[in-house]
């Protein structure tokens, strides 16, 4: 076998023919490949443009659908039903002094003389895709209710409280900031039962105790 191969390559005529033929094939296919690459770039550009146009068409359709859906909602449902639709996909969260409120917590110890309770209403990206923004915003519990109706905060004499609302694209946050606590002070928060239920909290009344020692013990 080896001697046959050697005989073939040593034959100048065979060798030259082989080299020429192979060179022609390599050159021809390389040139074709380069040409095809150029065509490929053009076709890829066309595909990207087709996808862009398709997305634009879908966005247009979505905008039309959403506008009609908004009209349907306002024209077909009463206020409680609209509120129900709007609040269905909204998530709520409560944090106390920066820590999320867990479902089995009813007493929390604070190591500082202020208590910051944040009620967050998160529409979520999905809600905004499912419903017109106006419906979601109109039915926001933070907009529809007074702060004291959502979380009732009870605190002792000498303490002060202020509320603030922060708007962000995917929701709103309502803050309750109680300050002026003295060691041993207790701040009680009573969360609206509907909100507590939607957060699956086992207790809607939470006591926050200002205990200076918490900080000392931790250190």
């Amino acid at each position: 076998m080896l001697s046959k191969i050697r005989k073939y390559v040593d034959n100048k005529k065979h060798f030259l023919i082989s080299v020429v033929v192979l060179c022609v094939i390599v050159l021809a296919f390389t040139a074709t490949e380069l040409a095809l690459n150029a065509v490929g770039r053009v076709e890829t550009a066309k595909l990207k443009e087709a996808i862009r146009v398709y997305d634009a068409a879908n966005e247009k359709m979505y905008a039309e659908n959403m506008a009609a859906f908004e009209k349907t909602i306002y024209g077909s449902f009463n206020e409680p039903q609209i509120i129900r639709i709007g609040q269905k996909t909204t998530n709520y969260g409560i944090s106390i002094n920066g820590n999320p409120l867990l479902d089995n917590e009813s007493v929390i110890y604070s190591d500082r003389p202020t208590v910051a309770v944040l009620l967050s209403e998160n529409y979520g990206k999905d809600s905004l895709a499912y419903l017109p923004r106006s419906v979601i915003e109109k039915t926001s519990v933070i907009r529809l209710n007074k702060p004291e109706d959502l979380i009732k905060v009870t605190y002792g004499a000498g303490m002060t409280m202020e509320n603030n609302v922060y708007d962000y694209h995917y929701g709103q946050t309502l803050s309750y900031l109680v300050s002026g606590l003295t060691p041993g002070s207790i701040v009680t928060i009573e969360i609206k039962p509907e909100i507590a239920r939607s957060m699956a909290l086992s207790d809607n009344i939470i006591e926050i105790v200002y205990n200076k020692d918490v900080e000392t013990e931790a250190k």
Partner: protein, 236 residues
Amino acid sequence: MKKDRDAKPSETQENLAETSYGNDYSSDKSKAALSLSILRFILIVALAIGAITAIIFVFVSIKTNARTVETTKDFQIKTQNVYYDLDNNLEIKNEEFASERLFMFFSRDEVYTITNSLWKYELLLNDTPVDKSTSALTISPGDTFSIRETFEETLLPAGFLNVGKVTRGDEKDRVQNHFGLNKKMYSLTEKREGNTTLYTTEGLELVSGEKFNLLISVQFQERLGFEHDVIEVTVR
């Protein structure tokens, strides 16, 4: 020897190389010839690999380009369809969109509660509503019964609105299933006009003196507000 002298240089080279075919690599000439053979072989193999690679690349590129062209066409067709829907089927698409989303927020029972008040049903005897408290009717040969189904004008999508019908939007159920004339042969023809659909008995043969029962389903009885779900019918 004479033969060697007359031979062309290339042939001499070949002959030189041939001397080592018997695997005698001891002389320098034989070694040089072997090296040359190896180099030639490597060159051919390298070119062959290059050729195969180039061919494979070309075929892959052809396939990739064809797929890209096909995908582009698919997207163009999809885009055309979207624009076609925007121009011609926008109302249907809006309804589908609204219906699909509304079902995310309400259970089927809730949808029924919301929409059933938008549908009104009446049982008619010769175009005259039958009294809700009726338990017995006397009719004449040639008389017809009809059910008039009317819905209020609303922006609600059809898929959502239809859940409020007596059939609860079940595509397999029909109004005809909620009405029956015991032991009688007839059919209920359907005639739609605007927001009203009239289902009328056809081919009902009534003989003087005969008696039969008009039966309505419990759901239909509830929708009609009737006191009885069985009405005794006597033909004069």
